[in-house]
């Protein structure tokens, strides 16, 4: 058994769960400006109240697992992405606290709504920036970051920043369509179509730009076995997007969220394939970056026991709160 491979898969899974869960969570904040009614906003927030702490925990898991299993990546990538990561954390703090405070505030409610939106949108944007910079390759010498303070600021990373924002916005809208009803749900349904189109445009832009700017990725994507394996992805994306448009027109309640998750998963697979087998694109492979086997084995024992349990009770938590959030819910 290759422990390094297992850990890479586990971290990839953890990050996907994070993107799926905190994605809709942040997305609700991103689309807040389009729903100015305070009672509707209360309701939108109440759909998240029981789950957001747990959702954000997957980001901590991703960070901690990376630290344990691939300390070299942790030590090289985090200083490289210093400012975007710090700004992302600042945004997460802003939105987390607005979450707690907004429900209790009366006069300053609008301020906290704005903070919630800015925090959510900012967190998504800087995550996207970090992703873009990572995909473009981080200058590493002897396992240490050796680049400019602002190396991460490129047109490509701005594109991925906006792209991730639109991904989260779509997830958020679909989540809300599932958890609400009546007029609010109707407007959400009408909102999902345009969001899907926007996301498709970003996906196309990233998919064209990546191989054009990076010859290695182009070779990997268009080499014989990989090309045929990847070939279905764009078609699947198109098919899912089409289903999404049909589904929202028919006012399905749960299907759009499921379809949005499939879209995200397809995009995610594309990214994983373009990075493979590197831990830091084009410079450090997973095996170069791996922690000693004793570390990976020790941590894996815990992960094998605990991660399934976490998944079960996370699911149980969602199951308890599976119903629509009533308009008069009071979670504060």
């Amino acid at each position: 058994m290759d422990l390094t491979l297992i850990w890479a898969a586990l971290i990839a899974l953890g990050l996907f769960i994070y993107v799926a869960l905190d994605g809709f969570d942040l997305g609700v904040g991103i689309i807040f400006p389009f729903f100015p009614d305070d009672r509707e906003r209360d309701r939108m927030m109440h759909t998240l109240a029981p789950v957001w702490d747990g959702n954000e925990t997957w980001l901590v898991f991703g960070g901690a697992a990376l630290y344990a299993a691939f300390p070299v990546v942790y030590a090289a990538v985090l200083p490289a992405l210093y400012l975007p990561l710090i700004l992302m954390l600042a945004c997460l703090i802003l939105r987390g606290v607005s979450f707690e405070v907004r429900g209790k505030a009366t006069r300053t409610k609008n301020v906290w709504s704005l903070a919630f939106t800015l925090g959510s949108a900012g967190a998504a944007f800087f995550q996207g920036i970090a992703l873009g910079a990572y995909l473009q390759g981080i200058p590493v010498v002897n396992g240490s970051f050796a680049g400019d303070t602002f190396f991460w600021l490129t047109p490509f990373s701005l594109l991925t920043g906006l792209g991730l924002m639109s991904t989260y916005a779509l997830l958020g809208a679909c989540w809300l369509a599932m958890k609400t009803d009546g007029d609010l749900q109707l407007r959400l349904h009408q909102f999902i179509g345009p969001l899907t189109i926007v996301l498709l445009l970003f996906m196309i832009a990233v998919s064209v730009w990546t191989p054009l700017s990076d010859a290695q990725v182009a070779r990997r994507w268009f080499a014989a076995p990989m090309f045929y394996r990847l070939l279905p992805v764009p078609f699947a994306v198109a098919a899912v997007a089409a289903l999404m448009l049909v589904s929202t027109r028919r006012r399905h309640e749960r299907a759009p969220f499921a379809l949005a998750l499939v879209l995200v998963a397809l995009g995610y697979v594309g990214l994983l394939v373009s990075v493979w087998p590197y831990a830091i694109p084009d410079s450090v492979t997973l095996w170069d970056a791996a922690a000693p086997a004793s570390t990976q084995a020790f941590t894996l024992v815990g992960a094998v026991i605990v991660v399934p349990v976490i998944l079960v009770y996370t699911a149980a938590g969602y199951w308890v709160f599976r119903h629509k959030t009533p308009a008069d819910a009071n979670y504060h």
Partner: protein, 487 residues
């Protein structure tokens, strides 16, 4: 005096100290409160007395605030090891990384997963299931303490590793986790978190007693909290003393710095009660000294010898000026806690606990004492570990990331502004909740604490309304929430 610009290392240290000092306030609150709430809920299930339930719901609100802010300020910590301390992450990541991962896996998720049910699930799951969720959340906070303290203690007293290619590689995980200072530190920190909350609860009880409330909610929380202070303060003093013996054995330079002791005093070490250690002149100025007391406290013998700071190379000495005072403030506050507990017990015997206003003012003033003592204690142990980040193995100066001082200065500014405004507001709302107090009996039916009547969320504040009649409310709740129509 010349002003030298701060380096990335200095700024990273200041930033880490600042972010972790703000962070620890929230987990300490939630560690203590979770267990307190579990006890309250257990008491309610056992006795059926409604005021236990009311207190449980009330403190859960404050717990939720503290927990939320603990999560978001904790995410920062998980990333700062890499962003600012890449050298440390590279050297020790194979050992401290798994400990943090275990913390996330066993504790963080346990808390966050069951928190939803604990806070919002009163009318969605049965009483026993709800109690189980509360207990699991409380357990999660304690398990979390276990892993974080294991990691921190390993940095203080590392063992169970080998150095391979300039990196610490784990050899024996049991030795890594149960390193020499870990049991002491774990006990000391857990007791500290319980004391923090006992003092917070007793101060809020005192506030409402002073304003004339005498309902069972306020009396119960004041009384319970003071029992806790009475029991825990002396235990904490013993635990701290044992921790000190352990530190003397493994980190003698830290003890010398704490005591402002420069020379090794043969035939009995005196204790500097107060004074001002001067790192350059290598003396402790204006010291008030008591002969033999140092030996007595630190070695439990009359003539025990303690190595003075001068026996350590200058480059290996922690800053005595800081730890001398942080330690003394902590100990002083601990003694005041003991006084609070003992006075409370004496008043209780005379039946005047709820009437003595001077004592209630004392309890109110002691509200922040737990937090202050906790921060001073952490400052002592962390500053006392310097100049090492991993004691004896890796210097703090070698642990910093290859980042510019400008970047760290900018992030520092963001954190300071953000933390003061955002966590300041959060703390203000916690104070507001504490000031409004638990709903007293009848009032619970009309007003939810923290929610003004009629708004902001509309009509019936569910959280308070279901306090006295959970079963009825559950039925009503089920009626209000029909199954959603699936696709």
């Amino acid at each position: 005096m010349t002003v030298s610009p701060l380096s990335a290392t200095d700024l990273s240290r200041i930033q880490f100290a600042f972010t972790i000092a703000v962070h620890i306030i929230f987990p300490a609150t939630s560690i203590g409160l979770a267990s307190f709430i579990a006890v309250l809920e257990g008491a309610w299930l056992k006795t059926g007395k409604p005021h236990y339930r009311a207190l449980c719901v009330y403190w859960s609100k404050i717990f939720a605030m503290a927990f939320g802010m603990g999560v978001v300020s904790g995410v920062v910590m998980a990333y700062e090891f890499g962003t600012n301390w890449a050298g440390f992450a590279r050297f020790a990541g194979s050992i401290t990384g798994p400990l943090l991962t275990y913390e996330v896996m066993t504790a963080f998720f346990l808390e966050a997963g069951f928190l939803g049910i604990m806070l919002f699930g009163w009318d969605k799951v049965g009483r026993r299931a709800h109690f189980a969720a509360t207990v699991l959340v409380a357990l999660g906070t304690l398990v979390s303490t276990f892993w974080i303290l294991a990691s921190n203690s390993w940095m203080q007293t590392p063992q169970g590793y080998a150095i391979v290619n300039g990196r610490a590689v784990p050899q024996d995980w049991f030795a890594v986790i149960f390193n020499p200072s870990f049991p002491y530190r774990l006990v000391h920190m857990t007791l500290a978190a319980f004391l923090v909350v006992a003092l917070l609860v007793s101060a809020s009880g005192a506030w409402h007693l002073l304003r004339g409330r005498r309902d069972p909610e306020v009396r119960t929380m004041f009384s319970m909290a003071l029992w806790m202070v009475l029991v825990l303060a002396p235990i904490q003093i013993v635990a701290g003393d044992q921790h000190g013996l352990n530190t003397l054995r493994y980190q003698p330079a830290k003890i010398a710095a704490i005591e402002g002791l420069w020379e090794t005093e043969h035939g009995g070490t005196s204790l500097n009660l107060v004074g001002l250690p001067d790192m350059n002149a290598e003396v402790t100025r204006d010291a008030i000294r008591i002969p033999h007391l140092g030996s007595l406290i630190l070695t439990h013998t009359w003539n025990g010898e303690i190595r003075g700071l001068k026996t350590f190379p200058k480059a290996d000495r922690p800053d005595s000026t800081i730890v001398f005072w942080t330690f003394r403030i902590m100990v002083g506050l601990g003694l005041l806690m003991l006084l609070l507990g003992v006075t409370g017990a004496a008043l209780r015997r005379r039946g005047r606990l709820f009437e003595c206003r001077a004592f209630q003012r004392f309890a109110l003033a002691m509200g922040p004492a737990g937090y202050l003592a906790l921060l001073m204690g952490w400052a002592t142990t962390e500053v006392g570990r310097q100049p090492w980040v991993v004691y004896g193995l890796l210097r703090t100066a070698d642990a910093v990331s290859p980042i510019t001082a400008q970047s760290v200065g900018l992030s520092m500014m963001i954190f300071v502004i953000l933390y003061f405004s955002v966590f300041g507001t959060g703390a203000w709302y916690i104070f507001k909740l504490i000031r409004s107090g638990p709903p007293a009996g009848e009032r619970a039916l009309r007003t939810a604490p923290g929610t003004p009547p009629g708004g902001p969320n509309g009509t019936t504040p569910a959280a308070a309304a279901h306090a006295p009649q959970p079963e009825a409310q559950r039925a009503a709740g089920a009626g209000r929430r029909p199954m959603s129509a699936a696709d």
